[in-house]
Amino acid sequence: MAHVVTPLDQPSSYKDSQARVDRQKQNELLAKSSTLYVGNLSFYTTEEQIYELFSKCTTPEEGGGIKRIIMGLDRNTRTPCGFCFVEYYTHAEAMACLRYVSGSKLDERIIRCDIDLGYREGRQFGRGKSGGQVRDEHRADYDPGRGGWGAQAQRLEIERRREVEERYADAQEGPGAVAGGGGEWKEAEGAVETTLKRGRSPDEEGDRRGEARARLEETDHDAERM
């Protein structure tokens, strides 16, 4: 069913302007991606609010769910700057968001969702000159949810800002700074009966995380081209 109207889950003009793969390759990757870019968020919207809305498109009975949420941060201030990535376990869940959630309100703002090539290190930070998103560089209107013009924000917003400003002060950069969210089920090693499960050593764990990263890098196309 897609002849007389355009489905809402078609890829839009959104793209990662710094991705270094051609459009066709991008489209192939997008057709399998389970990551969403979510834009036009209020700076005060929390990951838990995002989780609540975006969990309405999950299909856990098919092995799906929200894998992780990566909040977009201002490069300099380490405060949310109005976008995030939501990563699911399945492609179908991300598609469902394009059909049902994109264009509806979260925290009283109309948000937009786009299918994304997948999170890569460093993409959690804004790319604008001032540290935030490029779009906020040139914005001429007053937008209380996105920093307004300054101190005129409403009192409620000030309360929320105080919390938010400290929340991500500890945000790290570099490999492993962003959690993976948990991978697929794996047989516990050498432990069939639950009572005698031995604890894993930190080294083993390091390996497992290494694996998760290796998987992630399969979708890291820049590396592929370099």
């Binding site: 069913m1 897609a2 002849h3 007389v4 109207v5 355009t6 489905p7 809402l8 078609q10 834009g39 036009n40 929390t46 990951e47 838990e48 609010q49 989780y51 609540e52 809305l53 309405k56 498109c57 299909t59 856990p60 009975e61 098919e62 799906g64 769910g65 990566i70 469902a96 059909r99 049902y100 959630v101 264009g103 509806s104 925290d107 009283e108 937009r112 779009r135 914005r139 937008d143 409620l156 309360e159 929320r160 991500y168 962003v178 959690a179 993976g180 969210g181 948990g182 089920w185 794996k186 047989e187 639950t194 009572t195 005698l196 499960k197 031995r198 604890g199 894993r200 050593s201 930190p202």
Partner: protein, 869 residues
Amino acid sequence: MSYHRRRHNNRGYDDDFRREVYETPEQKLKSTIFKLGEVDPILEVPRITKQLLEEPALNAPVISEGFRIAVTEQPFKIPYYAALLRELYDPVEDVDESSTASPTLGRQILDDFWKGFQASLDKLAWRDMRLSIHLFAHLTMAQVITTQSMFELLRSFAAVLDEFGVSHGRAKKAALCASEGLMIAGPVIKENPSTNVIDIISAIQAYIESSADSKRLVQPTVALFSDSVTVEAADEILDSALATLQILNSSDFSQTAESYPQPYLVAPKPSSAPFELPSILVPPEVIELDSLHTDSGEDALVKKEEWAEFYIRIFDNDVTPDPTTPAGYAVRSGLLDLIDIYEVNRKECARLLLEFPKWTLPGTFKPKPGAPPQDGVSGKDWQLESTLIETILGSLFLLPESNYKSIYYVALVTELCKLSPSTIGPAVGKSIRKMYGLLSDGLDVEVALRFVDWFAVHMSNFNFQWVWKEWVPDLDLSIQHPKRTFMRRAIDLEIRLSYYDRILKTLPEPMQNPDMKLLPVEAPGPDYEYDDPSNPNHDAAQTVLNLLRGRAKAEDVMSHLQGLKNTLETADSDSNVDSIIRSIAVQSLLHIGSRSFSHFLNAIERYLPLLRNLAAGGISSGGSPSFEARKDILDAVIAFWKHSKHMVVIVYDKLMQYQIVDPTDVVAWTFLHGRQFVATEDSSSFDAFQWSLLKGALDKANGRVVIARRRVAALRKEEDDRAAREKASDQATMEVDAEAKPDEPVVESAALTTALKAFATLTREQRNALSRALNGFVDCLVSQSNPNVRAGEVIQEKAWHNRVNWNEKEWLAWETWGWYRHFCRTFSPYLRNYAKTLGAVSFARVGPAGDPAVELFRNIWNNATGQEA
């Protein structure tokens, strides 16, 4: 291609951007057909007829493809497509005398269209089939298709109902094909002396009577004491179709003309011979061959069960159509098809829904405000907006689940409100009030949950404006009364989508009163038990917290905990030191992860070895049984997040994802300790929060089996392909030998062996989780050793009629029954698989036979697992 390009400007964003697409001549030709009726279908038919007749003959396949798409994607236009085909079938003016020998364009299209119908049949694409049958039925009325062949077609669908062991899903869809065809073509079929419409009607009736048992399980309002297969507040779709057919038949289908547009009737009888539909057989359902079995031999392929469809009625018959009448059924089914087809684009769907009256007979709906007055047809003259909302909510509230995710229907209502706020808004308000009223009258617990979820998401799109004041008097009801529960839950969900202070502001003063327990006294935040310096373990916990804050290595934290344990043991021999250590460790971890979901994930990932060690009963000399350890972990989570149900659900999900705890642990814990948020102390109740934990755990167990099955299937296919390639290359290189080598046994790859082992483990886990859940419900409702008297009382008719006097314990018992019912129907496909083993274990522990509660418990189980009562 969208031909209604509209641009929305959302604060500088253009969210509807589409690339320009160049239209080929074929696409143009098709869109001519799609666009029929954009202004006035009656006037456009002759023009498009002429245009199509001018097309070169080789374009006929493109045109019939256009018809196929148009009919299956724009069913509201089918009567006009029938009129167009009628014109093309027997063109009034012969364009070219010499062409009379070759079939007319209309006949070619119909030939082609039939081939497409055959293809839908082979794929069992039911909706496409049913809508094609609509077209055939209209063409039969237009005398283009012979009555006899149409009747035979419908009879082939009715024959499905007599198949041995037919699934309800298949029977339902076949019955709808037959009935809707008959509703439209009935007038001429009944006239024909060699056909007998009663054959079809009685086949449907007989099927409905034989399938009555399972209906009770999916009714949207519940009367636990009653055996009735009908309910006041909802109509079952097959029942509606049958009632409609009976009304039509009793008046020789004279009401068909008042229910469906028949624009083709003005045309004379075609001069060329009418079209004969070839005879068909509805092919059997494809049985997916999957040689995967669980280790105890159950079939592992789970097939979704289809149930009776009860659509809730919110308004009176003079406001919205009664689907058990001909005109009402036509409108209702037309809207349901639109909602179903346009799921891919909710914005277009909303627009088409608001335009729907254009495609109905005049007088069906009240004219738009401001439009010239028009005489309503008596018995119709319905309100469009109320009809739309009622139909969408009917789809949203289908049990055990809606066709699409709930959020689709919620988002669709939002789009309607955006397009026409002044007319849709009041209909939404009235629907909310009506549904809220039903909460006192046995609204199913799951429907109530979807209702509150819709309410909260809807309000979050419209500034949280609701007239809460009108529900203030209900604060006098029992705290577990469904209306109080609704308000509490609505506020909780609104806070999740927004934030505490924002929602508090929207509530009238009496509701803000903490004594009403409608919302917490402060924003739902973490609660680190050891923050308080007076806590005896405050200092110990601080040392752990400092290590975690300093990002100490997991092994260092573990040895520190070990030391702590030794100290505590010498200081205090009475308390359970293992539990205290686990609580300190887990709460401290949650504490460093409490800033956000990501912080929590980071904390968990950094200390996975620690958590695994704790979960396995580590850091304890005796090595206590690990369920105890995992129970302590789950306890620590709820202690830390006691003010936020949302966080509990999120944390449990990830603890399962990281395999710190198993789904079965969460199931067991939910029944034993999940009552923390219930306002009353009651050891045998089960509420919506517990349901969310239970569902999360069972979904996780089932989802893992799905993934494992997929992996096995993929590996097997890979191996088959490789074997086939090797065989082919062997044959190519080998001389044809007199002694052909016997096929060598296929050696399983290591990957496949691992995948099969994982599959076996996970299906075992799945069965354990389901079994634990069933046992849990036995304990709640019908335990022999610990009988629940209240569970027996609330299912009595007399008690139900006296429910105004129920206290919270009675309401909780009633709710517990509701969740048991919903558990059975939701997980029915899985339960069916394990019915014998699960039933045998759990039913050994129930109270005596003959006890009404035990009988009801068993009936629900039997209904859900498809066993004879």
